[in-house]
Subunit: 196 residues, 2 copies
Amino acid sequence: MKIVSEQKETDPHQNIVEVAERLFSQIGFQKTTVADIARELRMSPANVYRFFSAKAEINEAVGRRLLTETEASLEAISTQPGSASEKLRSAIAALEKANAQRFVANRKLHELLETAFNENWPIVQDHSKKLNKVLTNIISEGNSAGEFHVSDCELAAILVRSACIRFCHPRLMVECAQEPEPTLDQMVDFCLVALG
Amino acid sequence: MKIVSEQKETDPHQNIVEVAERLFSQIGFQKTTVADIARELRMSPANVYRFFSAKAEINEAVGRRLLTETEASLEAISTQPGSASEKLRSAIAALEKANAQRFVANRKLHELLETAFNENWPIVQDHSKKLNKVLTNIISEGNSAGEFHVSDCELAAILVRSACIRFCHPRLMVECAQEPEPTLDQMVDFCLVALG
């Protein structure tokens, strides 16, 4: 009880998001109400509304947290040693892995992201921009190293991400699960030929 | 009345599918019941069930009809004169056009296909195979003409279709509508480089 109040004092915004994520993963984001979240935090719903003007904002905040983790893993890959081709392959593999792991480990959180992509929430648009930026950097590095010969690295990043969308999109990943081909390596190889 | 009975005698299966498609496009496939379809055809629901063992089968039959139209337009493109590159571009453009037109002209039929793709109905798997076959033929022709240098045409067809999925998938098309890039031409150019 004491710990909860201390946390509340330190960052109520973050506490709300953390509790919401836990409830979302247990009962699903659509069934979780602001009253449920408030109850867990021993605060009034009105107090939750001081930090989030609507339940939809809490959904977005939880989604953003999940997508930020994926973005961080891609940024880590982009600064590792290795060729640009290897980094590009690792980046797409990391996107697939993040999706696949969430789907297996926590289907209800996966559903939140499916809805976010389906309804094109602002967090998804923001996520796209961040991924494009990381991929642009990797491709630009490959250009400098003579691995790639691309005139517009930003466009090339968008093309690679579009080409690999079946591995990176929470809904498509599920739809394509029963189609063995193309494998991620086949698709990345195809892109590498186009970039080279 | 006479015409309806004559049609019924000639091909009741087809009559049911045609009436179902009309009702689906008016009130949506989920709200249309077998009783509605039977009523339009002045027959009993039991009679409809002589031809389709479940409503789901009628949904599939209507979906198949829509997808068959698209397949026919792609097959027509593949036998036209022109280079393989041009045919490949026209084929992807035809897939996009079929989706986009249906979305604008008849949102409720578009929703039927969205659900079919979302739930990976057998008609969608069958459609994929047919599209892969047409694209394989085009790529193989490009190989013979020296336009492409592809070792496995079937795999290349699958890769091109995956790379272009944002233009050919009823749900993704809607999700990606607000992202101007990549354009269809940019994506096809990217694929043509990879095939060349």
